[in-house]
């Protein structure tokens, strides 16, 4: 079983370290044909506008949508969560539309507002969260469940086999969310 990590731009190396810590094999994904070699895909943090341009140029934009519709688990962190959303604000931009969430980019402010915080989750409580120029999630349908919250705001949500976090679990030492994501593969 190999997990794909979208490696067009951003924090893909940190995700690879997390999967190494879980002894799970992984592969960087930069082309459509590589997607066939993996069973799940992580969309890392980084700059969503950069990734969007490269997703279109490579043809990965429709390929990931199709894979997601066929049930491939997708896990987006920060910019990756923005890509999975149905709607994106501040500024408005295109997205894969895999989850019924709206995401506001850079909602907390610039880098000086970036922080390490303690949030809550039924998977682990408290859960350490690294926010870097983080976006904010607005839930648009009852099919979206809250997996983790911080200051009463949803910061990690799930819909079916898609998981989106506005913080960076890959920048800490806690593999809880990555293990949970890999667990989605086993669910029918």
């Amino acid at each position: 079983m190999t997990i794909g990590i979208l490696a067009l731009q951003g924090g893909y190396v940190a995700h690879a370290h997390m999967l190494d810590a879980l002894s799970i094999s992984w592969k960087y994904i930069r082309q459509v044909r590589e997607l066939a070699e993996v069973r799940a895909l992580i969309l890392p943090g980084g700059e969503s506008s950069t990734m969007l341009r490269l997703l279109r140029e490579t043809g990965l934009f429709p390929a990931i949508q199709t894979a997601g519709q066929r049930g491939m688990p997708l896990f987006g962190t920060c910019a990756g969560a923005i890509l999975l959303a149905k709607k994106v604000y501040a500024p408005e931009q295109d997205s894969l539309g895999m989850m019924d969430i709206a995401v506001k980019r850079n909602a907390y402010g610039r880098q000086l507002a970036s922080c390490v915080a303690q949030g809550s989750s039924h998977l682990k409580n408290p859960m350490e969260m690294v926010f870097i120029r983080a976006p904010e999630i607005e839930i648009l349908s009852s099919e979206v469940q809250i997996i983790a919250a911080h200051e009463k705001k949803p910061v990690c949500v799930q819909q079916g086999r898609c998981l989106a976090a506005t913080f960076h679990p890959e920048l800490g030492h806690d593999t809880t969310l990555h293990a949970y994501f890999v667990g989605l593969l086993g669910q029918v």
Partner: protein
């Protein structure tokens, strides 16, 4: 080293992590910043003049006008960096008050202090600094830099110095990994770097912060070369807006930085370029005093 555990340090290096695999472009106007963003830049570096113009026009190069930086910050959604003069902590304080996302304490600007770099631990905003070798990189990290870029020779359009500095850095890192404890203590002395950082590098085989490349990148092939030599991301200064085809070149360099190990993709984007790269300079013809890279150690 305890400094790596504190939260401020983690979010500083965290932002640097998010810039990996990307291209950070020098811009001097809002219009250029927008072109950079649309072309796929993962961040922009706001400055008064690109290095090629600083070189040509001479004079003292200072921090960019805060008003211009502020207008660029309002215009784009990607992170905005700005340069401060080496040792000029007041310029850095102003840039932090302006809330830029990253400060480059840069040898491209005229140094403000011949002896001292800024104590970057005093700031909440992350810093990037240039280096030509491992000792210089570790001294900057000890001072609080959250990202290192090899210096190259800015504004030259010539990749040879960027290659020299990256090869030197990677080679020196590799050598540390085979030394024993006594040899590491001696290496720290020769590198003029803290032993704790030397030990960390020896154990992990890399720098404790992201390692990017700058100074002389002008084509998609240059970007691919630097990535293959170990650069985790690319800074392009004069290379984009001193070419005759800035937008097409910016896009091509972004694609080549992502697909650096795929010659077919780098070829495709190179075929798409019809304009000319920036004019280049032969470093061997330059006088020592004309070099930016030797302005700090």
């Amino acid at each position: 080293m305890s400094v790596f555990d504190n939260e401020t340090w983690r979010v500083k290096v965290g932002l640097a992590e998010m810039l990996k695999g990307g291209v950070i472009m020098d811009v001097t106007t809002v219009e250029q910043a927008l072109i950079a963003e649309q072309s796929g830049a993962c961040a922009v570096m706001a400055l008064e003049r690109v290095p090629a113009d600083i070189r040509k026009e001479g004079g003292v190069a200072r921090m960019a006008f805060p008003k211009m930086v502020s207008e660029i910050m309002a215009a784009v959604s990607i992170p905005v960096m700005a340069k401060a003069r080496i040792g000029h902590f007041a310029e850095a304080q102003i840039l932090q008050a302006l809330e830029v996302d990253f400060i480059d304490e840069s040898e491209v600007l005229t140094p403000a202090d011949d002896e001292h770099h800024i104590n970057k631990h005093n700031f909440r905003v992350p810093f990037v600094c240039g280096c030509r070798n491992l000792g210089e990189a570790l001294r900057r990290i000890a001072e609080g830099a959250a990202m290192i870029r090899t210096k190259g020779e800015a504004g030259s359009g010539n990749i040879v110095e960027a290659v020299r500095h990256m090869r030197t850095l990677i080679s020196e890192i590799r050598k540390l990994t085979v030394l024993d404890e006594e040899e590491l203590a001696s290496a720290a002395k020769h590198l003029a770097a803290p032993l704790s950082l030397v030990q960390w590098v020896a154990e992990h085989g890399r720098l404790p912060v992201p390692n990017f490349s700058a100074g002389g990148i002008a084509t998609p092939a240059d970007a691919s070369l630097m990535r293959q030599l170990g650069a985790e991301a690319i800074f392009v200064g004069s290379g984009i807006f001193k070419s005759t085809d800035p937008e097409a070149r910016a896009k091509a360099i972004v694609t080549a930085t992502t697909h650096y190990d795929n010659p077919q993709r780098v070829l495709e984007v190179s075929l798409g370029l019809v304009g000319e790269a920036m004019p280049g300079l032969d470093i061997r013809q330059m006088h020592e005093s004309e070099l930016f890279q030797t302005r700090s150690e």
